[in-house]
Point group: C2
């Protein structure tokens, strides 16, 4: 998969057995392969209403298919596992647009690209892809989809746990202490690394704030922070989802124009604080009034940003907050593993959206199956 | 399915048994449902490099999913067959872009929309869709795909038959007298109804030239015809495919600007003649030097245009030319039935492209399978 942060193609090779609560999953190998610059630039254009075109999207869908095929081959090589031994590929693809609510003639819909036929052909493998569309067909927002895997792996074990992912976008899943899928709730908290990365790219010509080193040297600008906290997304009641269309390039461009007199490092610190507070705020408004939390587990690329993590921990005083790495799990691999679990459920004809998290009318079997094109199982 | 001519959604309800040469297929009901004006306008925008956007394509993909779902429901109602009795839906979708050859950073690819998850959800049915991508992944041009069904239904019966389809685009398949898939050859001959329809819409405000009545009143303008016959597509050696990007709105707009002094009915007659001669010419250049033809069978919406058909018959003197309707088959239903046959082969894990027709490196299993989302077979 490739997330909204566009920092690379994540590939997880997993051993998986059983299904639903009997699922046993073991990470064999994980890696993130750098996204070639030209492709990253094309994805950004494809995500923009103004710059995208049918020609670009048509071509990029196939181009990403080839890129994801290579990721499959590379992760197998690294693990010294022959590609022929793979049972299936679960491919999330690259989201290029997501419309959780309709507006005017535009109806609720979502668009992930990375042609599964290409992945299937290049490896003669079965591919399950396009997981989000069926949830939207069922009236859901098509996101978040990670809750299902958290539920079957960690649910019903006597602790209420908030799983906070910090990718391009931030999202939280609250897994109940008891095994009851309807008690799960989840939503996108707001920006993850998306604003920080775009600001770093524009002001410091680096793709992200490594360890939070830039933020460390700056100060929060209260006026700018207040302006950011007024964003309408933070006030919306869950279920809710967001993406590049809310906090992407256009948003940052406008922000930097508006606050062009502030020192670059202060801007980085302020958007880092904004990202942290949008998470903390979401918990105070929408999680803690409903349930106590035994634990908060942070995952995703954002967990490497020390300033961001410290600000979250400070904001949630009194609750145990850990990064997944601190408790011995791979934080980076989490989402890719989640989609392997979803693909496995599809092949077992099991539903794997969490209607309580996405707002769908019912739980449904997700994804499309592309068969190995030369035959075989 | 909905073709490049955008004149409606074709739905064929068929009884199908067996696979490959054992396939028995019976048309139960066929209808073409009018394409709502707003959706037709959105498709045209989505097909245009200048006017398309990721937002439009994302939304339209779902919108067409709902439209195709309704077509499934309507054809079942008309046939008094319960939707629950349907084993599967084979959905071609709507082609919005097709790049048979790459150019610069744009790679060979194709894009059909009409979200299969929506069709599957609205009817709790299995859906096979996205047939063209796997052929392109295999190095083919993704078209034509109809040859396979013609081959298994009519092939190897002692006659060499050319199947000429006249939809938005014209395409021919030559089926050999002997049962040998590698002897099939097929290619897009050039425009079908696409130029005629667009000219009628711009000059007469009607969506097509019913029965050829407008062309009947006009005369061929030799200068304009010569200019049209010089189009580079006609000179290309097969395998070759074309579409709206070559003969669509932009093409007609430029044509009408260039020849604005010619009488409207003469323009209609001239583009009708061009369409006929592009077919006749293709046979003379690329078919008849290779094989004798026992029969030419014309199908598709263009067969209702009497002027067009007469011009083709005149141009192919000495060969028996019939419309499918003249020999008792439904010409309109042909393509929709062909995709039902392809869907059936996919479920039987059989390959169904004709590499000799598409230029693919090998024959492959086509399409993605979306499972019935609430479970069931």
């Amino acid at each position: 998969m490739s997330g909204t942060s566009l920092d690379g193609v994540d590939a997880a090779l997993v051993d998986i057995e059983g299904s639903e609560f009997e699922t046993k999953v073991k990470l064999v190998k994980f890696n993130t392969y750098e996204m070639p610059k030209e492709i990253k630039a094309e994805i950004k254009r494809a995500c923009s209403v103004e710059e995208s075109s049918v020609e670009l999207i048509c071509s990029l869908n196939f181009k990403l298919g080839y890129l994801f095929s290579k990721a499959v081959q590379h992760i197998c090589e690294e693990a010294k596992v022959s590609v022929e031994k793979i049972d299936f590929v679960a491919s999330h693809g690259q989201t290029i647009y997501h419309i959780p609510k309709g507006k005017g003639s535009i109806i609720p819909s979502t668009l992930q690209i990375g042609e599964p036929s290409v992945i299937a052909y290049e490896n003669n493998l079965k591919v399950i892809s396009n997981f989000r569309t069926m949830d939207m067909a069922a009236g859901g927002e098509g996101a978040p989809l990670v809750p299902y895997s958290e539920y079957i792996l960690y649910g019903g074990r006597g602790e209420t746990i908030a799983f906070q992912n910090i990718g391009g976008i931030g999202n939280v899943t609250v897994i109940p202490a008891k095994r009851n899928i309807d008690e799960i709730f989840a939503f996108d908290t707001g920006p993850g690394n998306m604003i920080i990365d775009e600001v770093c790219s524009r002001l410091f010509n680096v793709s992200y704030d490594k360890n939070g080193d830039i933020a460390k040297t700056g100060n929060i600008n209260e006026g700018m922070l207040k302006n950011l906290m007024d964003h309408p997304y933070l006030k919306k009641t869950p279920p809710k989802t967001t993406g590049r269309e809310d906090f992407g390039e256009d948003f940052v461009k406008n922000l930097l124009e508006k606050f062009k007199d502030i020192k670059p490092e202060d801007i980085v610190k302020t958007v880092t604080a904004y990202t942290a507070f949008s998470i903390v705020d979401s918990y105070k408004k929408f999680v803690l009034p409903k349930t106590k939390l035994d634990k908060v587990l942070l995952a995703g690329g954002g967990t490497h940003n020390k300033v961001l993590i410290q600000l979250i921990k400070d904001g949630l005083k009194g609750i145990d907050v850990f990064t997944q790495d601190e408790i011995g799990y791979s934080s980076d691999a989490k989402e890719a593993i989640a989609f392997a679990i979803l693909g496995n459920e599809t092949l077992n004809k099991k539903t794997s959206n969490v209607a309580a998290a996405t707002g769908a009318k019912r739980n449904v079997i997700l994804g499309n199956i592309s068969l190995p094109p030369f035959g075989g199982s």
